[in-house]
């Protein structure tokens, strides 16, 4: 049975400017130990998807539809108390900015021990031991001494390791990582990626890795879902999606990664801007920016269709590469 099965998730923001459908019918599922890369631009709804799973969407946002089945249990039906006992325990989250996620005025020890004791009736000493083990697992030197430190005494990379250690404390079944390496420099980023991948494999933890960077998920994720304007436009095994992208948007994302073209050549870019989520165009949301756009795209929104084993695509005019696969 899958650890997480999200069906037709809808999270809307009720703003003065109108209803923003930040997440509009997102579906995916995840088995134990599996890593899903959720890729998209800023504002594509990928972070909101992550927060929806933990039921931590701030007002005016609200999950208005769909199902989130976690180990066979629909999270929407749980009481606030039951949901809290899952958070940080069975489902953990890592945030984007390590400078902001730790409370500046509390010691690391306090922040880790409370995370253990919120879910397990153990002594402070036992919780502390677990914290030390988690810190050494993520590669923090002399963890016992570092427990007494405050967040500002750590570098950004070290703080993110602490945040990851906190996520690991209770051995969760699922970790939602919301762009956890975006704020870090590249060397630290690759170290953390390697460590997280190893940890997930060791413990069988399922992982949702939210990022705007296809290069990051390329080496990490088992499968990829590409989001655009609140919807998944393409999904499939990582290798398949990266070698034979079906959606013009995925192709555009791949083309804009440095290193694919030849030296001296301009990087390809996707023309235009991410759409205004409060006023989405009729039909396909990507149509105004799409190189393969036709009349039908402007009239009817495409539905997601299977184009191969585990591969889905939401496009009227898939690229040639994907047609070969299908």
């Amino acid at each position: 049975m899958s650890v997480l099965d999200v069906r037709d998730l809808q999270t809307h923001f009720f703003t003065d400017a109108g209803v923003v459908k930040a997440v509009d019918g997102v579906s995916f599922s995840l088995d134990a130990g599996e890593v899903l890369g959720l890729v998209g631009e800023s504002g594509s709804g990928k972070s909101v998807t992550g927060f929806s799973i933990l039921r931590l969407v701030d007002p005016p946002g609200r999950v208005v539809g769909g199902q989130i089945n976690f180990k066979g249990q629909d999270l929407a039906t749980l009481s606030a108390r039951e949901m809290r006992s899952l958070r940080g325990n069975r489902i953990a989250m890592i945030f984007q900015d390590p400078m902001m996620t730790l409370n500046p005025v509390l010691r690391i020890e306090t922040q880790m021990v409370e995370a253990v004791r919120a879910h397990d009736r153990v002594s402070h000493a036992a919780a502390r031991d677990r914290a030390i083990r988690a810190l050494s697992k993520v590669g923090i030197p002399s963890p016992a001494e570092r427990l007494a430190a405050y967040p500002h005494q750590f570098s950004g990379g070290m703080r993110q390791r602490v945040a990851i250690a906190i996520a690991l404390l209770n051995g969760p079944d699922l970790i939602v990582a919301d762009e956890p390496t975006t704020a870090l420099d590249v060397t630290i980023q690759s170290q953390i990626l390697a460590e997280v991948q190893e940890l997930a494999r060791e413990t069988g933890t399922a992982l949702i890795w939210i990022t705007h960077d296809l290069a990051v998920v390329a080496g990490l994720a088992d499968k990829i879902s590409v989001m655009y304007a609140g919807r998944i436009v393409e999904t499939g095994p990582t290798d398949a999606v990266l070698t034979a992208p079906g959606h013009p948007y995925t192709e555009g994302l791949l083309g804009s990664i440095p290193g694919h073209g030849r030296r001296g050549e301009r990087l390809t870019q996707i023309p235009g801007m991410a759409p205004n989520m409060a006023r989405l165009p009729q039909g396909c949301a990507f149509a105004p920016r799409c190189p393969r756009v036709s009349d039908i795209c402007r009239k009817d929104a495409p539905v997601i269709t299977d184009i191969g084993p585990g591969r889905g695509l939401r496009c009227h005019h898939p690229t040639l590469a994907a047609e070969g696969v299908a």
Partner: protein, 325 residues
Amino acid sequence: MLVFLLRRLAQSVFVLIAMMIVVFFGVYMVGNPVDILISPDATPREIEETMARFGFDQPVHIQFLSFVGNALQGDLGRSFVHGESAVSLILSYMPATLELALLGLIFSVLIGVPLGVYAGYKADRWQGRAIMTGSIFGFSLPNFWVGMLFILIFAVELRWLPSTGRGDTVEVLGLRLSIFTADGLSHMILPALTLALYKASLVTRLARAGTQEALMQDYVKFARAKGLSETRILVVHVLKNIMIPIITVLGLELGSMIAFAVVTETVFAWPGMGKLLIDSILTLDRPVIVAYLMLTVIIFIVINLIVDVIYTLLDPRVRVKGEAA
């Protein structure tokens, strides 16, 4: 830390000097106390003698220099009325005011912080709005009126609490205090509440603003993602972050509570410094007024210093900078 303290002390000396000049010329140049000290039908010779005894016949700058000279030795003159040293006179009234201000401060924190945090947490609900509306009353009702209202309700109608005086006092470390006797404490509750009402409203507003801001921070969301209870998030994560501005303001307010409890002390016939000040102003008892103002300055300086030290205890980031300096 040491460098920081020394720097603050040097700044304090400048403040004291400036204050000496302002206070001296402000008070010494207004009115002639001799008119009050001597009966109107005294002979010019008697007046002259008295003037000479107090040094009023000297030029202004000589008077000022001798005032500064004496002040440096801790002597701010003798009370014209009571005949004893102005400083020791004020100090003898001080414990009553200090304990009243302290209890007022405790009340304002105990009332203001929980109300403010709750109002911030429920900012868009009726609970939050009700608390904010209530705090407007705390701000705008005049002290003397609240005091009299309290007396009317709790002393006259309900007969729960006494309304005047200090009640039983007990000597602690050489100070006569009411706070440690049940009777004394019951005498303190009404004046302390009156004193606390305005501050409590202030604290409520500060705590609410701080809570609203803190609740939007990532660390609160992360704390929720850890599965902590809302209570723990508010009481540990939010409260510790919002205490810094609250303590700053309260520190300053404690100074004003001690120095200007005049109205409340008058309403409740509380024999503290404020009442002494009013009496001294009425009798033009210059040395007492000057000594009172100088002591007030010193109290403010000391409290500010303590606030800065408490900062470093609350905010580890300030601590590190202080150590590095």
